[in-house]
């Protein structure tokens, strides 16, 4: 009985049904575990592992220089930049994404994303891909947009009282 000390029979061999279920479960969890390294080898969607330490001041300076160099327009006061394939930068700060990135379909970019103040969440919609943005860390996402169009970037980590107004944009051209 669960509220009494076990009867002597409790170290008897495990029943057949329990043994079958145990081994089926064991195989299942091992297969599931192996699926993670295998996905890294065979598939294209993997969590990025490259990151650098960077102070918020330094990253803000990098982003503003990057913006100045490639700016092609602006929308609601937020600069639009059209950089070549390679290193691109995105700054999260209360409550804004800077700048608006204009990318080209099928090209590969190293998107450096970091925060000027608190934690933010980088969420591309409606693709629905989500990454954490942490101040002090430059997280490098290697992305290759396969579709053209306009995408929204949302903040999905609570970042303060204006959290629900923190939206940005990503444009992918043909």
């Amino acid at each position: 009985m669960p509220i009494h000390s076990p009867e002597k029979v409790w170290w008897k061999p495990i029943g057949r049904q329990e043994r079958i279920w145990f081994w089926v479960s064991f195989v299942f969890v091992i297969v599931m575990f192996i699926s993670m390294p295998i996905w890294h080898l065979l598939a294209d969607q993997n969590t990025p592992h490259l990151s650098y330490r960077v102070t918020p001041e330094r990253f803000t300076a990098i982003v503003s220089e990057f913006t100045k160099r490639y700016q092609v327009g602006s929308e609601n006061g937020i600069p639009i930049v059209h950089p070549p394939a390679g290193e691109i930068y995105l700054l999260a700060r209360q409550y804004q994404w800077m700048p608006i990135l204009e990318l080209e379909k099928g090209k590969t970019y190293h998107l450096h994303v970091s925060s000027a103040d608190v934690n933010h969440g980088f969420s591309i919609q409606p693709v629905n891909m989500n990454f954490q943005v942490v101040p002090g860390y430059d997280y490098v996402l290697e992305i290759t947009p396969p579709d053209a169009g306009e995408f929204t970037i949302l903040c999905n980590e609570f970042c303060g009282i204006g959290h629900h107004k923190m939206s940005g944009k990503l444009i992918v051209k043909e």
Partner: protein, 570 residues
């Protein structure tokens, strides 16, 4: 033999009574502490529940109750998380621990005065944090990620609460040791106490994680030290998630207890059930890293090994219980004569007994919804699709509420007559409460998961983005999901109010049960030897676990196919 290794001590006398239902000797000091801690837990459940209702009505797009006052919404959201995840659950768990050591072992609770000190610290901490949160000085959410700053009193309150809880856990260990030394029980620990012991061991590491998290945060909030945001996140999740693993071990212990007291179930195999609990101790704390899967600064092998709880071996523990408990119920029911077909045992189960229905609903919701989505969303790559979307609250409501809270509610319906010796006031309400509450909860869970899958973020006052620099529009279906969750909030609030009403009224006004009288009307036990019991086959439970495995596989494969369709990223 094990019982001779400890020096026998002369048993200390203590004020007690004999339970008419179980025959256990009940320490009056422990009884009072259990009832006080459980009642306090219910007060915080009520507070957190009211917050939950207001939040649900805000995120229901057609109502948007607090959308115009986001400041208030974020205060309430923080309060909801703190009151539900910490205060309701941990006060109840302290009650459960005292029950598991003193009552189940026929023993006295050691140092009851210190237990009251622990209680006092926990109350002071919880009240302090609540005041700060409601004053708007700590709108930082349950996770309080540095460098988003709260008042130092917020961190201090949490520290006091954790210290109090740690004292209670230490008293649990002390009581188990003293009970053995005084010869209060013979042989091995009963399974319920064994399960609670795993919960207590996990609680120690968790609460130490709490010290590691909140002491630096407290000093940082006073300006006395620097704190790296990612280090804080790593430390926070060493309390944030293991706290849920305490719930898991406590909840599974309560499943065994309720299955026993409602239908007379005995574990199919004590060895296997205990092994499953040991897997929790060994591996489950590693799982906290699944909150950091899409974080910078953490290596891939570390993420993979830790998120899978060391190759999902802790998941294996849960899968063992997933068969052992329904199997034990089936065996007990078959012995009682419900042997027709695969499922007569289940159909003829005492569905009108809130202890049984809560236990079964908790098991099914935790397993089929909470467990599967938790493991799949915490898969290293699949997490990209779910991190911080509304799917996450969808998942955690199926584990913490659908699993833990419903199990705790179910056991309350037995604690009141067993320990307070009062009959339930409104037993009819209690009978329907688990169904109403869980029905509402299903709406909340699936509504939130649906909206999350369409990209709606969590922890956001509404999804309209009014006044945002860039216009945002979600698919119309996302609004439908949020509305479904809103409707569920109302139903679940009714169910929650029924629970609080029955519990509080019964505690104070329930009809007294005479000393020494059993609360169970029927005699549950047909006599059968342990050997014969061991031979009973449980084909129904066997079919159920394979249905579960199919659901698990579909959720997993479905998510992998979905992941294969999003943008390449590395």
């Amino acid at each position: 033999m094990a019982q001779q290794t400890l020096p026998m001590r002369r048993p200390v006398e203590f004020l007690s009574r004999v339970c008419g239902t179980t025959g256990l000797r009940i320490d009056i000091a422990a009884q009072n502490l259990i009832l006080t801690n459980a009642a306090t837990a219910i007060v915080f459940l009520l507070l957190g529940g009211i917050m939950g209702m207001l939040l649900g009505l805000t995120r229901w797009p057609e109502i948007s109750l607090l959308s115009s006052v986001p400041d208030i919404y974020y205060r309430f959201l923080t309060a909801h998380g703190m009151n539900m995840l910490l205060y309701w659950i941990i006060f109840f768990e302290v009650a459960g621990l005292y029950f598991g050591c003193a009552i189940v072992l026929n023993a006295r609770l050691v140092m009851p005065k210190l237990a009251w000190v622990a209680y006092g610290l926990m109350v002071i901490g919880a009240v302090m944090s609540n005041i700060v949160v409601f004053m708007g000085e700590a709108s930082v959410m349950f996770s309080a990620y540095v460098p988003l700053k709260a008042s130092p009193l917020f961190y201090l309150g949490t520290i006091l609460f954790a210290v109090g809880a740690l004292i209670a856990v230490i008293l649990f260990f002390a009581t188990v040791v003293v009970a053995k030394a005084e010869g209060r029980y013979k042989g091995s620990l009963p399974l319920v106490t064994f399960g609670l012991l795993t919960a207590a061991i996990i609680a120690v590491t968790t609460l130490l994680g709490g010290v590691l998290t909140y002491v630096p945060a407290f000093l940082w909030s006073l300006g006395l030290m620097n704190l790296d945001p990612e280090v804080y996140r790593l430390n926070f999740w060493s309390i944030g998630h293991p706290a849920q693993q305490i719930n898991l071990a406590a909840m599974v212990s309560i499943w065994y207890f309720l299955a026993h007291i409602t239908v007379g179930a005995k574990p199919l195999n004590e060895k296997l059930s205990r092994f499953a609990f040991v897997l929790y101790i060994l591996f489950i704390n590693l799982g906290s890293v699944h909150h950091l899967l899409v974080d910078p600064g953490i290596s891939i092998p570390f993420k993979i090994f830790n998120t899978s709880y060391a190759m999902y071996l802790a998941v294996l523990g849960s899968m063992i219980h997933a068969f052992s408990i329904p199997g034990a119920i089936e065996a007990a029911q078959r012995i009682r004569g419900y042997t027709k077909g695969l499922f007569q045992w289940l159909i003829k189960a005492p569905w009108g007994d809130p202890g049984f229905s809560s236990m079964w609903i908790s098991l099914v919701m935790f397993g089929f919804i909470g467990g599967t989505t938790g493991v799949v969303m915490g898969h290293e790559q699949i997490n990209i699709l779910h991190h911080n979307t509304m799917s996450i609250p969808g998942h955690l409501h199926s584990t913490v509420v659908g699993g833990t809270t419903i199990a705790f509610m179910g056991v309350t319906y037995y604690l009141i007559p067993l320990l307070a010796r009062r009959r339930l006031v409104g037993a009819v309400l209690a009978k329907y409460q688990p169904y109403i509450y869980s029905f509402g909860l299903l709406f909340i869970i699936f509504g939130q998961m649906g909206a999350g899958a369409l990209g709606v973020p969590r922890r956001i006052v509404d999804a309209f983005y009014e006044g945002a620099p860039i216009e945002v529009a979600f698919p119309a279906l996302a609004d439908t999901g949020l509305s479904i969750a809103g409707i569920g909030t109302i139903i679940a609030s009714i169910g929650g109010a029924m629970f609080v009403g029955v519990a509080v009224l019964s505690l104070f006004f329930g009809k007294r049960i005479e000393e020494g009288k059993s609360i169970l009307e029927k005699q549950p036990e047909p006599s059968i030897s342990a050997e014969e019991r061991h031979k009973v086959k449980v084909p129904g439970a066997f079919v159920l676990v394979f249905v579960f495995l199919v659901v698990f596989t579909l959720v997993w494969i479905g998510n992998m196919l979905w992941l294969g369709k999003v943008w390449p990223v590395n």
